[in-house]
Each structure stands twice: as C-alpha cells, then as structure tokens.
C-alpha cells in the first residue's frame, strides 16, 4: 500500500471526545488530491504494536496542501484512537497511506442527501466541499445526542441545506419525512452507527426506494473477542490472535504477507481462502455474500474472528 511520512501540523480539540489532526508533507510538497468520502490509513507504532486505523478525510478534496482527519476517542476501543489523542504531538512524523475512496458520491445523481450519525459526519465534510464546487443540489442531516458531543458543528458551513438534529433538544431526525419527499434522481448516503444505516434502509424499502441509490459506510473497528489460533496451510505455522488484536494484525506481526486496503471489512482486498475449518467463523465484514459466509470457505482477516477447533488458511 502506497504511503508517505507526513508531519502533524495542527491539532485542535473539536469536542471533549473529538480532535482534528492536520498532516502536511515535511518538505511542503503537494499531496495527491482525492474525492469526498475518501479515507487514509494512519500507522501508529504503539509500544511494540503497529496499529493501522482508517480515518475519513475531512479537508477539501481539491486542496493538496494537507490532509485532515477528525478522531473520536473510544476509551473502550482497542487503543488506536487513544494513541492519537494522548501520544501524538505537533511536529511528529506519521506514516499515512494514499487516500482510497469506498464511499464516493454517485455523480449520476441529480441530488445528494447525506445522513450522518455522530462521528459519521466526517466523510461528508469533504463531500460538502466537493458538492459546493460541483454546484449540485444537496441536503445534509446530522444527528447527534447533544450539542456538546456534536463535534461536526464547528466544521459545518452555515447553510439552509444543513440540518442539525439534536435528540437531547427533542429535535430527532425523522427519516420518513426526509425520504418521503425527494425528487427523482436523489441518492442517499448514510454514515454512522449500524442502527442508523439499517433504519435508512428500512425506511427506504417502505417508501419504495431501490437499494441501488442508498449508499452507506459503517465505521467499523475490528471487534475484540476470545483469542484463537490459525494454521497457515503453506508453512504449517500456527499464529495466535490475541483478544484485542485482529487476525490481520496477528498475521502482520508474524510477518505473513496479506494485501489490505480499508481494514474495516468493506473493500474486499484482504479476502483469504479457508483451507479447512472445524468450528465457526465469526464474519463481521460487509463484503462476503450470505452464501460465502455460510460456506465457511473465505474469511476477511481485517475484522472476522473464529471459535472452534482448527482454522487452516490458504496462506
């Protein structure tokens, strides 16, 4: 995966839990441009463990002077966001991957409706800048529990197309009203917790929206679980996956080459064949089909885990 060392050039607190980071080339070179919805993978060398987390870019896609991300501290998480919040200082050099977009705008649409829950606002911050350039009709709905937690507020333009729904203030998002009155050619993009994405899909289905115009991106970190062992078919080597480690991270630690891109179960790049499986694969990805999952012949090591006797991978 292409990556480069960039210098941390700004750190700003957006809310008690969310911090904005800006990265620039140490020599001042321009970075590759991207498109709204793209993410980068940030490498964090954390006490002997190399963490790699994906974060949506929130800066202007047409501005190559730097990349910006917003990181929400997840204290119950695996430690990546905590590392960003506590260990990263101005001037640090960090390895950042080239931008990849798995959540781009469908430019065939006549109107774009963006629905964000909490920190799911991040990809839309870049898309808003892209849409402003394209001069395309849009509306953005941003749902947050409280104003204090709504880190996106500081970064959102004051515009009549931007609607903020704060449930604490009794102003909950009404998906039926949002999806019930959109003109032909509207595409909908949802980013946030799984429950929000499911609610948009259900409301869309009830109102007769085809699935093809409902886009979504789940922010997914590899879920923790019980430790397990995998055997590699080619070498017979046995790799142990720790409770707070993903299978992909364990393979990387054991210096086993696996291609990867999003590290969140969405892109499909790390798909790995299963040679033998005596037990149950816990599929957490959004890539494999239901049939593929049931057959237990493939696994996405970035997010999926295993319970049972033996799992032998085609590696």
């Amino acid at each position: 995966m292409t990556s480069r060392l960039l210098r941390v050039s700004a750190i700003e607190t957006l809310s008690p839990l969310v911090t904005r980071f800006r990265f620039e080339d140490p020599e001042g070179a321009l970075l590759p441009l991207f498109s709204g919805g793209a993410h980068v993978v940030v490498e964090m060398p954390d006490a002997g463990v190399l963490r790699r987390n994906a974060y949506s870019l929130i800066s202007d896609p047409m501005d190559g002077s730097g990349y910006e991300i917003a990181v929400r501290r997840e204290d119950g998480g695996r430690g990546g966001s905590r590392f960003m919040h506590t260990k990263v200082a101005l001037g640090d050099l960090m390895r950042i991957s080239a931008p990849v977009n798995l959540f781009s705008l469908d430019l065939r649409a006549k109107k774009h409706v963006m629905i964000a829950g909490g920190i799911g606002i991040t990809p839309f911050l870049a898309q808003l800048k892209q849409l402003a350039r394209l001069q395309m009709p849009f509306e953005l709905h941003y749902a947050a529990r409280s104003r204090a937690e709504a880190a996106g507020l500081a970064l959102l333009p004051a515009s009549p197309q931007v609607h903020v729904h704060v449930s604490e203030e009794g102003n909950r998002m009404d998906l039926g009203a949002i999806l019930g009155s959109q003109p032909l050619g509207t595409h909908v993009y949802t980013c946030g917790p799984e429950g929000l994405i499911e609610a948009v899909a259900e409301t869309g289905a009830r109102l007769g929206w085809p699935k093809t115009v409902l886009h979504s991106e789940v922010f997914m970190a590899p879920p923790p679980g019980a430790p397990f062992d995998v055997t590699l078919a080619k070498t017979g080597k046995v790799v142990t996956v720790g409770p707070h480690q993903s299978l992909l991270e364990a393979l990387e630690q054991a210096e086993v080459e696996v291609e990867w891109m999003c590290r969140g179960g969405a892109c499909g790049r790390c798909e790995t064949g299963v040679h033998a499986c005596h037990g149950t694969i816990e599929h957490h990805d959004h890539w494999l089909s239901d049939d593929e999952r049931a057959s237990q012949t493939k696994i996405m090591p970035c997010v999926s885990r295993f319970t049972g006797e033996t799992l032998v991978l085609d590696l």
Binding site: A109, K110, L179, G180, S181, Q182, P183, L184, G185, T186, L207, G208, W209, P210, K211, T212, V213
Partner: protein
C-alpha cells in the same frame, strides 16, 4: 393480445419482463394500444396499484379506454399519440418523488422513448417496469444521418430521412430509445439482401 415473447438476442436488446404490482406506491402508468390489457391484468392482480396512479392511455386504434377509466386510477387521461402525451408525462415525472413506480405497456418504440425520458428525469432503472404488447415494429435510428424512422417492420428498410438502405440491428440505444440501422450495401452499392419481415 398476450404478452410478446421475444427470441434471445444480443445483450443490448431490451427485455420486457412484464408488469408486477408494487402495491399502493405512487405510480405513473403509460399504456399504448393493446398495452391496456397489461394494465388491466396488473390491476386484477392487485387493485391497490391504482390508488396513487396517474394513468395515461394512448388508444392507437385499440379501444380499451372505458375499461381503463373504470379501474379507479387517481388520475386518468387519454392522448391520441405519444407525442401528444409527452407534455403530461414529462410533468408527471418532474413532479414525482423517489419511491414512484413507472409502469409501461405497449409497443417497443413507445417503451423505448418513455424509458429514455424517465431515466433522463432521474428515475432509477429499478423503478421502471415494462411489458411488451402489440406490434413488434421497431423504432430505428439511421446511424448515418441520425434520423429516426418509426414503425419499421421489414429488414432491410429505407431510411425515411436520407434514403439509405438500412440493416436492422439488435443494437439498442437506451438514450435514444431506438435500435440502430446501418447501411446494408456500403461496400457493394445496389446489392441488397432480400427483404424479410422482422420477427419477435
């Protein structure tokens, strides 16, 4: 007249799977000639499809108007031709919201033009249902002069604009809602294959 069954063809030729009721969602319906029977069959399967339907009928010599009017669509109008129905159809598309289903039934030329119009208006292809009824005549575009000849029933045929003898291809343009006609005697001027009737 029953639903037309076409023989398998090259992939760019449209398929018309028939109308399936989607319940009482907002709907635009456009029926031409014997296509009225497809709408009557649809309503017989689920009468609620008419509750929020705007039904436009182009009789084209087939008299099913009274039976269609009796289905109880939210709005029912007749028009003597597709061209005369177009302003109403466009307005219906412009006012439509996402979640609207489009039901089209009739000739290939009408369906092709109506689908192109709906796609241009932003209707997702998944929201369009089609059923072929009646004439299998084709709407042909001459790839040389770009003129469109309606109701072509023979192959090869004469372009009604530039006069070239055109071979009827199965190659369909979704943008134009028409098949492509290509000069059949470009390399051997005057030597033209025997004229055949177009088959489904």
């Amino acid at each position: 007249m029953p639903r037309t069954e076409f023989s398998p063809s090259i992939t760019s030729r449209p398929v018309y799977p028939g109308l399936t009721p989607q319940g009482a969602t907002p709907a635009i319906m456009l029926a031409e000639g014997p296509g009225a029977e497809a709408i009557l069959d649809l309503a017989a399967l689920d009468a609620s499809v008419m509750d929020l339907a705007h039904l436009i009928y182009i009789p084209a010599g087939h008299d099913a108007g009274l039976r269609l009017a009796a289905l109880g669509a939210k709005m029912y109008r007749e028009a003597p031709s597709y061209a005369s129905a177009l302003e109403r159809y466009r307005k219906a598309l412009a006012d439509a919201r996402m979640g609207t289903t489009l039901y089209l039934a009739g000739s290939e030329g009408m369906i092709g033009q109506a689908v192109a119009e709906a796609l241009a208006a932003g209707l997702p292809p998944e929201a369009i249902q089609t059923e072929h009824r009646g004439t299998i005549a084709r709407r042909m575009q001459c790839v040389h002069c770009k003129g469109v000849t309606e109701n072509v029933t023979i192959d090869p045929f004469l372009c009604s604009h530039c006069g070239l003898t055109l071979f009827v291809r199965d190659h369909f343009s979704r943008r134009l809602g028409a098949f492509q006609g290509v000069c059949v005697d470009a390399e051997t001027p005057g030597i033209v294959p025997e004229v055949q009737e177009i088959k489904p």
